[in-house]
Amino acid sequence: MLNGYGATIIDGTWLTLQLALSSMAVAIALGLLGAAFRISPLRWLSGLGDAYATVIRGIPDLVLILLIFYGGQDMVNRLAPMLGHDDYIDIDPFIAGVGTLGFIYGAYLSETFRGAFMAIPKGQGEAGQAYGMSGLQVFFRILVPQMIRLAIPGFTNNWLVLTKATALISVVGLQDMMFKAKNAADATHQPFTFYLAVAGIYLLITSVSLLALRYLEKRYSAGVKAVEI
């Protein structure tokens, strides 16, 4: 299949999926943290959260990826000698990719989560406090479970954008399916064939994700009445 390059592209697909899922895990953690900051009554915390969301969402992914990858490499190699480590350190592109995409999409998710948190009736959190729950307990036991249903549409969108953005990590040398396709295209002089194959695989991933997340949305909306106009 594909002049014998089929297997390497499938390998790349596997790496792309791992990258997307790991980055999403990091993004969810950062998004929750960012949203918690932004809805915090403390002025400097909400300011910090807002700055994170605004700055990151105002700069292209590609620029941030190049900045964090090359900048991170530069910083690590300047700091390492101070800690008594003299060899040149190469950052693993996978780790850098997960960190970068997680950091970028954390900002986008913080916006989604913030909107969802604000849509939960105030009385819910107050009822939790009235029961003597701590702030963290109210956040994780009352707000987060209800927020999930409201956040799924925005989350779906972010997941799709993130999945597609993984292609950019091939620029800094991660051997994902985009990287493999480029190699195969260079070797066989059939770029159209290989990029089309990669496009098909991305389409498959996004289609399956859409179906799965639509099912999840239905599950989480059980017991909530849909209003028919």
Partner: protein, 232 residues
Amino acid sequence: MIFDYNVVLDSLPLYFSGVLVTLKLLAISLAFGLLLAVPLALMRISKQAAVNFPAWLYTYVIRGTPMMVQLFLIYYGLAQFEAVRASFLWPYLSSATVCACLAFALNTSAYTAEILAGSLKATPHGEIEAAKAMGMSRFTFYRRILLPSALRRALPQYSNEVIMMLHTTSLASMVTLVDITGAARTVYSQYYMPFEAFITAGLFYLGLTFILVRLFRLAEHRWLAYLAPRKH
């Protein structure tokens, strides 16, 4: 760590010419994208499957694949075919600027079509009924009522799409164009100073993003004032 301002100052002319390239790419792809999006959106709201399905498939495929793949398919991919290389279009299709504009325009047309279709579907019943009661023909109804009303209401979402598009143009640096990102990559490869090179590019993009946000706020004030919440 010291931030070397001299490097940034020396390469400012390069960055400014990059800003011009970025804006050129953005303007051309948005203009053609919007032109393509209006008929696509009208197809997407059709009840006839034969009309609706091709537009649905187009937007679904474009929105389901990465921009980078689409760009590479057009810039590197098309050259694979002898027929393309022999055709009269080849002088255009071998140019990075044309390919980038083509790829960006096709990409934004799909997203914009979905935004417009959503806005068209949300047209208040009263507006449609009023047009019918006035005895408007179908064409007059589209031209005077449906499209102006839907285009206005699409403004807030379209502003997001424009900003996404501004960020997307950074991919042009991968097909040899020297836009803002391309300038940053040039500076990086000259001086090996990643922070100076890419933070400067980031600031330029942030500045452009804020300007676009402000312009769209003005546009909304002009065209969507009747939908704004009451101030008092």
